[in-house]
Subunit: 419 residues, 2 copies
């Protein structure tokens, strides 16, 4: 095959950028498809910083970056600024863009998709969510698959690793140190632990599903550090475990969202997934869900997905696809979780199991199952709206109890149609 | 949005074709993307047959079908003939084609892709494998994601349903009757039970992975009916279950394929999937696998995927993508399973556990674990090449034993990188 030259400019040249340059220079996969991908420049802040891998001409000026003829730009700076201005300038100059930047697409996705559509050039970001799993294109370009009324997933590998370690009885600090040592977490992993990273990814998926004006700040977000190690023992006593879940319902009858720990039935498919494994499940009506799963992060898998996006763009496949006209839900609808079953745990010196059961019954969230484990009392409740269970929890908190309130992911819900 | 009219001709008008016509006529999803899809004709054998749903002008002549101006053809006849001639004529007339026909794409995929490429028109077939899960595009258009060195999946819902029923202690006939009653299986379900349907789907995936000249007849195919109900008890004693697996390895060091029942460790993700749920797992090197899962069949999910393909084609996204230049493995390499661990079960009146252990050791497939359950002796062996374990099994068979030999899917292999 006579390969067509594609001159690529990298916006940013950190771990992912270096992996992209190395992979483009060394692999045969692009050449086999008739693509000669050449990274001709990389925009960096500090050209003196030690970097490994393929040698790429570095520049520090945005103007200099765009003075050079480019066929495609790959944005791997991370963060919203100055990435937004750079990507926008690329699109407005008629240069297609691939980005892996979830913060950018969550905060400015609508503006960038509009800029790409106006310029008639491609904007691809398959690596922004589940970096190693190609599925954004399916959501963005397929009207039926791309209009789920519920999206549920584990979207952050670091917090999933931490949850698994806590479930195995490890301490939070210990687990975090291992995650950093293994390279699953950056030394500054506040975005992972706090749920912000997962909230950005869920925002991108919600945009694709038609909730176009959502921003991460609209979502209720709770960190994995809200859960005590002892909660995993309580969960086990309830036939469940705890996972860092991101979920959004666009069902007009019961909209809502949640980013944070959730009680997951042991028979739920999410309960048996481990470590840095990520997944997204799309449901529509009472059909069996469609699930995409695989590695969620890492320079190598991210670079592969970025270069796959490049190949799709060069083949003409990514042409600023229209996002569905329908408006799935208003951002305001996603500020609290949808109605459902709840896990409510309280620690209170003068509180017995019977008191707890009565309290929940009086507040109209009767317990389906109650356990008392190591000084904590916990219930799995019947389905109820958020404000109802929230009120029951608030009374406990103001009475001096240490309270944890999480949504429940039922196994029956997930598995019914598969059986 | 001012919708562009797309005149669609249906090649075939059975359950899937009727579902396509009904969905195109009733849903808003296509209109939201600026597509006015109109089914203007359907080619049928018998126009007098009772049909439900949207009213579509029927015709019985292929010439008449192509005399009408069409923007797109959807082939839902099933089978290789006359579907092949019709699809080929459409492509050669410059009409893009969507097909859900796995038999056709398995037998004639190479010819049809070439015809589409010559004509410069699209040929999409996402519904041919895992009908409700959009992933063929990712394999076909993405050079990195699309070059796995191992593909493993449960590709047939009927045989999966039967395996689950057998595992629950039901009889084969009983389970089959229920599958037909529930609509999971057609009254003639020989293609499902025999493994032929799964072999056709695995062939399509192998083509996409670069093994372009494979035909289903090259693959070793065994039906789910090869397994006795008692084997599920034996499997349980070995910490495993039995699932209908389709798997191909393109690893030059250990190529091979298998379509049929396999022993699956209880901790393997496939062990916990149920019923008509299907999945495909792609592995490349020692990276964590990428998994696509969801409903594998049914007129409704198939129609949705077909119309999603239509939307992608009309958006310009499916333009006869090049299949990778690399040749992953020769079809001859896939005529036997790759080396691995084995499940070997024998029933023989005069054979004890010690005799069995010695027999396996002498034949260089020593048992890792041995159990004796209800008159059967079974082993899970150390890894060995197919011809070695085959020789050990053949000696048992010629000695009068009733023998079952299945590959083992290890949990460790599947989960290592996820932990």
């Amino acid at each position: 095959v006579e390969a067509a030259v594609c001159r690529i400019g990298l916006l940013g040249f950190g771990r992912v950028g270096q992996a992209v340059a190395a992979l483009a220079a060394s692999s045969n996969q692009l050449g086999d498809r008739g693509i000669d991908a050449r990274v001709v420049t990389a925009l960096v802040r500090d050209p003196g910083k030690p970097r490994s891998g393929a040698r790429v001409p570095l520049g520090t000026s945005v103007r200099g970056f765009f003075d050079r003829p480019l066929d495609l730009a790959i944005e791997v700076m991370g963060g919203v600024d100055p990435a937004y201005a750079c990507v926008r300038q690329a699109l407005e100059s008629g240069i297609p863009v691939v980005t892996a930047n979830k913060s950018l697409m969550a905060a400015k996705g609508e503006e960038l998709r509009a800029a790409a559509a106006r310029a008639g050039v491609a904007l691809a970001y398959d690596a922004a969510v589940l970096a190693g799993v190609p599925f954004i294109g399916a959501l963005a370009r397929r009207p039926f698959a791309g209009a789920p009324d519920r999206i549920t997933g584990i979207l952050n590998g670091t917090s999933h690793f931490l949850a698994c370690a806590l479930a195995a009885g490890r301490s939070f600090d210990d687990a975090l140190a291992e995650a950093i040592e293994r390279g699953y977490a950056e030394p500054d992993c506040s975005a992972d632990v706090s749920g912000r990273d997962a909230a950005e990814k869920l925002t991108i998926l919600a945009h694709l599903a038609g909730c176009r004006h959502l921003v991460p700040g609209d979502l209720p977000v709770f960190g994995i550090d809200a859960v005590h190690a002892a909660d995993f023992d309580v969960a086990r006593a309830l036939g469940a475990t705890i996972k860092p879940i991101a979920s959004a319902s666009f069902d007009p009858g019961n909209p809502g969202a949640w980013v944070g720990p959730a009680l997951v039935d042991v028979n739920h498919p999410a309960a048996s997934s481990r470590g840095v494994h990520n997944f997204v499940e799309l449901r529509e009506g009472d059909r069996a869900p469609v699930t995409f799963a695989g590695p969620g992060a890492g320079p190598d898998v991210t670079a592969r997905t970025i270069l796959d996006d490049v190949a799709e763009i060069l083949a003409g496949a990514w042409r600023a696809p229209a996002i569905g006209g329908r408006s799935a839900a208003r951002p305001a609808d996603l500020r609290q979780p949808p109605a459902g079953a709840w896990y409510l745990r309280a620690r209170h010196a003068s509180f017995g199991v019977e008191d707890f059961a009565e309290h929940l019954a009086v507040h109209r969230v009767p317990a389906l199952r109650l356990v008392s484990v190591g000084g904590a009392i916990a219930a799995r409740t019947t389905p109820a709206p958020w404000h109802t269970v929230r009120a029951a929890a608030d009374v406990l908190t103001s009475g001096g109890a240490d309270v944890l309130l999480l949504p429940v992911m039922d196994a029956t819900e997930a598995n019914d149609e598969r059986r």
